[in-house]
Amino acid sequence: MSRLILDLLGAEFGVAVTRDPDGLPRVAPRTSDETAAALGLAHRHGWRVRVEGRGTWMPADAPADLVVTTTGLDRIGSIAPADLVATVQAGTPLRTLAAALAGHRTWLALDPPGSPDRSLGSVLATATAGPARHRFGPVRDHVLGTTVATADGRLVRAGGTVVKNVAGFDLTKLQIGGFGGFGIITEANVRLRAMPAARRTAVATGALDPLFHAAQAIVAAEVDAIVIELLSPMVTGSADWRLLVEIAGTEAGATSELARARDAAGDVALMPASGGALGVAAGQAFLEGPVSIRAGALPASLPDIADLVVEELGPGRMSLGPGRGGLRWSGTTSVERIRRLRGLLAHREIPVTLERAPWPIREGAGHFGELREGVAPLSARVRAVFDPTGVLVAPLEGRDG
């Protein structure tokens, strides 16, 4: 089988076909059309396809007949600084993109967990936003349009390159956080921001409760921060929790907002810190546990939910967003524990999304777990539009406890 796949792919793609470490045929298409052609071939032959990015986030362990990697899709098509839009192939590492954007005094305001070399496509497909979601919103808010290769080899374009657009159904939303179940994102038009003149970071250290209350006070004071995030002791390798506050703007504006944040924090001392380094280290820390989940909890419930998550899943690295809500946990856990946590949190209208895990856990628990009544059949019908015969190995659903 593997020989046949190699031959057929070789005829179509030439040098781009290799074998992965497990001996699976692996193709690295360089264009959207080539990606669609590879999937079309898989669809016609009934091969199951594993999609990989740059191999820094999701383990490359899903059973499949063929691996399609986006590493060949690594070109930045265009950067339009005046319009604050860039068109980028999905396999482009974030670090490469950030460097290119910096040359135009712009940036993509996404700071996802994981390696700086993560591909853009990985961040979009898993919708893993970092602390900057406080100001800039979830991943979906950064994407103006996508080009997607469906599992049966069609190329579908949705959205566009302008910041405001309601033409047609918003199919882009399915790709963002779709965990590869709705086709392969080959290219995205992303929304940029002008680089701020100044960035200031401050950190407070202590127990969760006082830091959480200080964070709530900063939120209530409407401090114009881009980040307000709580990091658990294991994230920073210290004995205490940390409250990270980051402000961007003009020199004068950032200084005065930081002063307001300090006032609002009261007895909790916010000390100046080097923001970039802490943010990158915190993001990388989430790679240390093999499993990473996020829970859609409202801000007020975060300390309670954090306790519950640790109780159910075990100790782990955690970050909490006291402004927009949301909790991320990473550590070592099992399918049964994830199922039980989901069962408990579903009663509180809190979904738990499995962001990263070894294959047996992804297969057992599913990225989304059990979808609610009415949603599961709808989701299956929508998915069939993009993958009519189940070519893409993407375990979205699972049974909850």
Partner: protein
Amino acid sequence: MSGADPDLVRALGAIVGPRWVKIRDAERRTYEADGLPTHASVPMVAVLPGSKAEVIAIVRLLHERRVAWVARGAGTGLSGGALADAETVLIPLTRMNKILGIDPTARRAVIEPGVVNARLSEAAAPFGLGYAPDPSSQAACTIGGNVAENAGGPHCLKYGATTAHVVALEVVLPDGSLATLGCPQGEPWGPDLVGLFVGSEGMFGIALEITVRLEPVPAAVRTLLADFGSVRAATESVGAIIASGIVPAALELLDQACVRAVEASIYAAGYPTDAAAVLLVELDGTRAAVEAETMMVERFLTEAGARTIRSAETAEARARLWQGRKKAFGAMGRIAPDLVVQDAVVPRSALPDVLDTITEVGRRYDLTIANVFHAGDGNLHPNICYDHRDLALRERVHRASKEIMEACVAAGGSITGEHGVGADKMEYMPLIFDPTSLATMCAVRRAFDPAERANPRKVVPTRYCREWRPEPIR
């Protein structure tokens, strides 16, 4: 009287009470158009449910009887999207107007679809909160309609359109089944079906309960009004402001034709009538940030050639500066009996050239085109004045509209930024989407509505919907 099957009328009456089933010609004609005067169609019957249970019962009945239907909010839409024909039942949701709850701590509200946009902000004001999307029709339009259209408004430059503010939806699908999408925090809970539903123009089902994000009312707001000797200078100042990293709450431009219409109307706002363009800039946030940004923006405006800059801080003075903008469409009613409010988007950097093209198109077709638009996000609203009784004029309006759309698309833009495709823009969809993408949109629609009975024949031209269908699920 309606040609509706008397048995269907009786069955609908049994659900909502006979007084809420509208079958007389005069009653049905109330619903023959939305805010766009170029399309009209009288529904078979209009049925007005007063509760969630009634909506569900109606949808189930129509599913059983295989009757097509169209949901409607306040009818302020500008794409002919909520029109129903003689074979189709119209379901206005204006009686579903209850605010079911406001949670000030979580900054969330749960509402029925017929709640009027401005009413939600009024209800949230005592908590220091507001609902950010503010379409020009906010005093009348419903949030259910906003969800269907993914409505915008001046303040979505900073705060995002409706899709950024809806976190959860309880929906009835066209087969009468129910689904709860999303969660109060905003995490999608599965694939992002909330994001997919918002902007689906009434073709995926009816939102029965909508959970939205509320935003704190900013501590300080400053509105600046600058007037320019040329439209190009005004749009260049927009580019400079955005490139600086400042994100104004709103950045609105009115051209001379529009300013003159406003100033000649009861909505006169004191705009200088000799200006080629008037730019409204609103800054909000903390007092210190607003002061700092005001100084920077004033500098950009002056450098770009602003002749005068007025500044307002009190709510009353700001309302006066805004009045001309908010009432511009009404004021233009004075110029001609009918007005087509067009909607298109271009990259900001293309604004000056595209506006020149629009002026040229107007001249060539001998039409009065006034521009009032969201300059910050490149969302144009060319307003074409005409008289619907003049058939030749109508044809010129149609051809000019098409040329304007083509120019916007050629500049890298889109055919609609906030009004939706509806019936009006279907013919332009192939300008921006290839047949495969259009066919996929149709297929996704069939995942929600296999029988294609919810708001039939809108958004995607039918010929594209027959090209590809998924194989059955294994």
